[in-house]
Amino acid sequence: MKIPSLLATMTSVMLAGGAFAADDAIRIGVPVGLSGANSVVAPSVVQSAELAVEEINAAGGVLGRPLELVIADDASGAAGAQKAFDSLVFQKEVDVLISMETSAARNAGLPIVSKGKVPYIYTSFYEGRSCNPYLFVDAWVPEQQVPPIVDYLKAEGAKKYFLIGSDYAFGRGMLEFARSYVESTGGEVVGEEYLPMDGTDWTAIISKLKASGAEAMITSTAGGAPNVTLTKQLRGAGVDLPYANLAVDEGTAKSMGADAAGILISASYVTGIDSAENKAFLDAMTAKFGDELRTPNDLSVPQYEAVYLYKAAVEKAGSTDAKAVLDVLDEVSFTGPRGSIQMSKQHHAPLTMYLGQVQEDGSVVVVETFKDVDPGEQCPKL
């Protein structure tokens, strides 16, 4: 055997994990924020994608072909995303993109997706109304997430709300919707304040909150650091109002220790969902990753399900041809840890939402369940 071909064989074996020859693999591109702001959750997203691919390949692949993941770092931002999308679409020539990313990264990637004509399933909750023929979303938008929280707080007797966010598209988008929803249900917003994304000093805002007479607060800070900083300073200042956080995940809640106790979250996935699918999923994750396991969350589970949704679409279309897959992607459904998911509504998905409360040990207990919440009019033109 000549050396170059030996090398090629070795590489292909490595890439395919040894199970199949790589030539006919269906390649799934995963641009994700391995560095930058999203790098806290990105590993969990990669893990759940790996599990989905392993399960599907173990069961014979898709149309007899194995799946193969191609991961690329988008550095959680636009510039990195361009590199990642360029690489995946034009260099690695993937058949589909499935990823959880920041809105900036998604927006940066979309023109490349359009040029490359590749289906793109976006698996992160976001501020909504991103529309593109190639883009499908299987995570929640404000219309699905905010109402459960406000309804719950209202039932608890809160009339006056204080809104706190990070100054970016998601933070503002969420709170804008929250304000209109609060007002439409008879509540009153007594304050709405934002801090820059990298801001660390919430002092003035907390003092305003304490002086406002608010009965509940809703926050939508950037994931990770700003969440932790705000919560630490809130607790330090002795704020113990009902506290709903629109952007905290279970992993981050854990790193705050006792400070996070009592926080209300609204999500399409929490680990405490009591279903056979979720139990099987968690067991499989634990078995596959052991000590390395990153807590599955509302960003990683949609990623897992999206791989299965793509599988279903390819099987229905009978090929990986982009147009054929896009045509049927809104017709297929998959029942996963979050329940039955179908991206039928203007490229978005109706979802069951769970209202959870963080406990002293960082775990999340489901307080209330809201079935099949509609994403509303996201992309009426599609």
């Binding site: 560095s35 660390t200 002092t203 003035a204 805002i205 650091a225 200042a237």
Partner: protein, 277 residues
């Protein structure tokens, strides 16, 4: 009342964060752009202390020593060749900051880390409740300020440092070991910065990039303060106060850039800043 406390404690926190940078800039006339990285190193000392199950207060001495030792190595290897090239020193220390940040990431991961609170609870006074920890931060700032005053006025090292600030060539001619004074000053500066990192843990998230957001603010304050701790205290009060006032009465977003913009304008009007205070 709350407003007043907000102003004073904000100034105190700014002072704690900037003091180490000032020590280095004042004596060495080098801007340590790895300042943020040292804050991060300090905060991770708190993480390690917690991980070992030790009393969280032990993180303070641990951070000081770690910061000082790493600072010593840095001074010797990176800063010393660049005293004559202050702009290059900014760049080299910025690069060092990247390296430290990535090393922490590789070692501890990107995640936000859990740290034990040093002090929690609130304090009731004049009809308002206020964070005990912020009051403690105020005390810590005063302690650091007094400590430096003593160090500068009451010790040989302080005398040497002041001599170097005034006239380095003369100091060397008089037989002062300026190389050693620079080394020790740098170590004290970085040790103090790491200590400040621990003091920040109850207030902010602990992650590999946590230091960067403090860098610009403290950098600007130090530029305004020059080489005087008194001036730094005044600068922290004035600009920290302005930040709180702008955040409270106009917008916290503008508040976030208040310190940087005001400092720049002050320097434009009077290039010596508050150094004469």
């Amino acid at each position: 009342m709350t407003l007043l406390l907000d102003i004073v404690t904000t100034a105190a926190i700014l002072f704690i964060v900037s003091a180490g940078l000032l020590a280095i800039f004042g004596v060495l006339e080098i801007v340590n752009f790895a300042h943020g990285a040292w804050l991060t190193v300090g905060a991770y000392c708190a993480v390690v202390t917690g991980g070992l199950g030790l009393n969280p207060w032990l993180a303070l001495p641990l951070a000081f020593v770690t910061g000082a030792v790493l600072g010593g190595v840095t001074e010797r290897l990176i800063v010393r060749p660049l005293y004559a090239r202050p702009l290059d020193a900014i760049l080299a220390t910025w690069g060092l900051g990247i390296v430290i940040g990535q090393l922490i990431t590789l070692w501890f991961g990107r995640d936000v880390q859990f740290t034990e609170n040093l002090l929690s609870g609130t304090f009731h006074m004049f009809g308002t409740s206020y964070s005990i920890y912020r009051i403690f931060a105020l005390a810590a700032a005063v302690a650091i300020g007094l400590g430096f005053a003593f160090l500068l006025e009451g010790t040989r090292l302080g005398l040497s440092a002041r001599a170097i600030i005034m006239n380095e060539a003369l100091a060397r001619a008089l037989g002062l070991d300026t190389t050693r004074v620079r080394l020790v000053t740098f170590m004290i500066g970085t040790g103090l910065t790491a200590l400040a990192g621990v003091l920040l843990t109850p207030l902010t998230s602990v992650d590999p990039t946590m230091g960067v957001s403090w860098l610009i603010g403290s950098f600007m304050l130090v530029m305004v303060a020059g080489s005087s701790f008194g001036a730094l205290a005044v600068a922290c009060l004035v600009f920290g106060g302005a930040q709180v006032l702008v955040s409270t009465f106009i917008s916290p977003i503008l508040g976030g850039i208040t310190v940087a913009v005001l400092c720049a304008l002050v320097l434009r009007i009077s290039s010596k800043g508050f150094a004469r205070v």
